[in-house]
């Protein structure tokens, strides 16, 4: 049986959520008549009509802000921000409004919105259409952030995101849209906050998420030949992240590499490394290593972009570093 594409898996999850719950609406730029810039919302307008699927003007601040108001009015908006770079235009709505309504009102409300947004380089889309900004949002109390690495997790995590009463940022790596895989339909849903072991190993723990999981798996495959068995943990959720699973693995391997495509400085890896340093210092046989993009905007030229994205060689080097 042919697998389901990553984008199609999310599409199926959205459609099923809309069928199950009439309060779920889809709202964003070109999500209706044009089927979405990456075709993730294909067919939804035809199926559910213009009172469930809203093509908006190019007004990111208003789209996300209105979703907060719609959520207060009993709807469950699934919002699309066309590229993660554009969350900059909706930061007040995300950070000051969506994230804080529950807290500031003394628990009078929840804001059940899902903000879908593609991140990542690899398409020569340049510095304003390629960024991985998930650490910004993971830094905000009140927001949850997830980033699946395969179609099955995308499908299940999306359903968990819609079922979640709080604002969830659902990050989709653009290079994964064409990836195919079997959907674990009917199996227990992937809860937000639960990681998975993508590859078991005894020598070193590699913590990653999104497309970087595949880079990490390739590096682990290479190192198998030299007798290094890397355990790859796919976080799936960034905020909250599965501290329990990561710590248990580190307690066995005593060595850690954290891999993400986002710039290394002040990133998700920094938070995880600091947590391990605080709580598991005595377990470590080597300093924690972070592999991430250099501190520069994402460059355009193919040759530059290839050097920018942390690839298999960078992850391999990172693992070798902690194995010394």
């Amino acid at each position: 049986m042919a697998g389901t594409r990553f984008g199609r898996a999310i599409n199926q999850a959205i459609a099923e959520c809309m069928e199950e719950d009439s309060s779920v609406i889809v709202i964003g730029e070109d999500v209706g008549a044009a089927d979405g810039p990456f075709k993730v919302t294909r067919g939804l307008l035809n199926k559910f009509g213009p009172q469930r699927v809203f093509d908006t003007p190019i007004s990111e601040a208003a789209i996300v802000g209105a979703s907060v108001g719609a959520a207060l009015g009993g709807l469950k908006p699934v919002v699309e921000i066309m590229f993660m770079d554009f969350v900059t235009l909706a930061m007040d709505a995300l950070v000051n409004q969506a994230a804080k309504q529950r807290f500031m009102s003394g628990g009078q409300c929840s804001i059940p919105i899902v903000v879908r947004t593609p991140h990542g380089a690899g398409l020569s889309a340049g510095a304003q259409h390629s960024q991985c900004l998930e650490a910004w949002l993971a830094h905000v109390p009140g927001l949850k952030v997830v980033c699946p690495s395969n179609p099955s997790d995308a499908y299940s995590l999306f359903k968990a995101a819609v079922a979640d009463p709080d604002p969830v940022i659902f990050v989709e790596n653009k290079t994964l849209y064409a990836m195919t895989g079997e959907l674990a339909v009917g199996v227990d849903a992937v809860p937000i906050g639960r990681a998975r072991v993508a590859r078991p190993g005894r020598d070193v723990t590699v913590v990653s998420y999104g497309a970087s999981v595949h880079t990490s798996l390739a590096a682990a495959q290479n190192l198998q030949g030299v007798g290094i068995e890397a355990e790859i943990i796919d976080l799936r959720s960034i905020q909250p992240w599965d501290k329990e699973m990561v710590f248990a693995s580190v307690a066995r391997t005593h060595r850690v590499v954290i891999v993400h495509e986002a710039v290394r400085a002040f990133g998700v890896g920094a938070e995880i490394a600091a947590s391990i340093g605080e709580d598991l210092f005595d377990e470590l046989d080597a300093p924690v290593v972070r592999v991430g993009a250099p501190f520069m905007p994402v460059p355009f030229a193919k040759s530059l972009e290839e050097q920018y994205i942390p690839g298999v060689d960078a992850v391999t080097a990172g693992i070798r570093k902690v194995m010394v």
């Binding site: 609406i25 601040a61 209105a66 009015g73 409004q97 003394g106």
Partner: protein, 328 residues
């Protein structure tokens, strides 16, 4: 029943008068409490602007929703917030409507359709936009009201929201409470356009009203709300008033020529409503005094209870960052 010269039924004007007195006395009390150190942070008072709040809210139904501003005490009181829990909130007490986590700038009471005052200038506009969308999609019959100040006319979200409201013909009333001052500078330094022309450019209905004339505010709001409930185009109502106090309590207002306030007594919205009531056959000083006394008693009781209320619990506050996550 007799009616005033402007056609507002006498009973309704009496209610409007009492609401305005309630807002005024509340603000005066908050000013005292702030000076006495009973209120942490800052407070932004709406003294002199009571007719806008009272007039608009007198027209709204319970299911209608509003978003307000950092200067929102009048709006939330007129929308029907529990006065005791309002005072507790502004004073940072456990029994506050937001359990002491919101404060003056973030008062919300969803049970009366108050989706929140907002500390971000223009921050409530898109929330009202989405609330209007929910009214439309869920066919509640309600309307949403986005109240914002003249300073928010320069915020991009207003322009985005005017556009979307028009495109989707949402049941949304935009209310610009123009008190002629945006923080520390006059509106003329903030906004180059005319709000009426802006509204018309987006294809919206527009009315400008004397915001110190409570009967006029109520009448224009009634027109707007009726139109919106009948599926009419979104509406922009500009209520022109004047900020009497500083931007915040304690603001020395060195940037302002206070001669602007000379002769204000004659234009005071409460004095004007009182004058209209006195002109009625069965009007009279005794009725007005009785209203003031009722209000004074309510406020005294609210303040007494707020002062006795305990401080909020930190662990409980931590529990409401996310829904259903206890002690995370």
């Amino acid at each position: 029943m007799s009616a005033t010269k402007k056609g507002v039924p006498e009973g309704r004007l009496r209610a409007l008068y009492e609401t305005m007195v309630l807002i005024r006395q509340t603000e005066i009390q908050l000013s005292k409490l702030f000076a006495d150190g009973e209120i942490p942070g800052s407070v932004h008072l709406c003294i002199g602007q009571e007719a806008v709040a009272a007039g608009i809210m007198s027209v709204l139904a319970p299911q209608d929703t509003i978003t307000s501003t950092h200067r929102g005490h009048g709006h939330v009181i007129a929308k029907g917030i529990d006065l005791g829990r309002f005072f507790k909130e502004v004073m940072g007490r456990a029994g506050g409507i937001c359990s002491g986590r919101g404060g003056s700038m973030h008062v919300a009471d969803l049970s009366v359709g108050l989706l929140g005052a907002n500390g971000i200038v223009g921050g409530g506009i898109t929330i009202a936009l989405g609330s209007a969308l929910a009214h439309q999609v869920r066919r509640t019959g309600g309307i949403a009201v986005a109240i914002f100040g003249d300073g928010a006319q320069a915020e991009g979200v207003l322009h985005e929201s005017l556009n979307i409201a028009s495109l989707w013909r949402l049941p949304l009333l935009f209310v610009c409470e123009n008190n002629r001052w945006a923080e520390f500078s006059p509106t003329s330094k903030h906004f180059a356009a005319d709000l009426g022309e802006l509204a018309r450019a987006f294809g919206l209905a527009f009315a400008r009203v004397d915001g110190n004339d409570v009967e006029a505010v109520a009448r224009e709001t009634e027109t707007a709300a009726t139109s919106l409930r009948e599926g009419g185009k979104p509406y922009v109502l500009e209520c022109v008033t004047l900020r009497v106090r500083g931007h915040y309590e304690g603001d020395p207002q060195k940037y302002r020529d206070l001669k602007e306030l000379a002769g204000l007594e004659a234009d005071d919205p409460i004095a004007r409503a009182a004058e209209a009531l006195r002109g009625l056959p069965d009007g009279g000083e005794a009725e007005l005094r009785a209203a003031e006394e009722r209000v004074a008693l309510r406020i005294a009781e609210a303040v007494r209870q707020a002062k006795d209320d305990p401080s909020p619990d930190f662990q409980q506050a931590l529990q409401d960052v996310y829904t259903g996550v206890r002690g995370a």
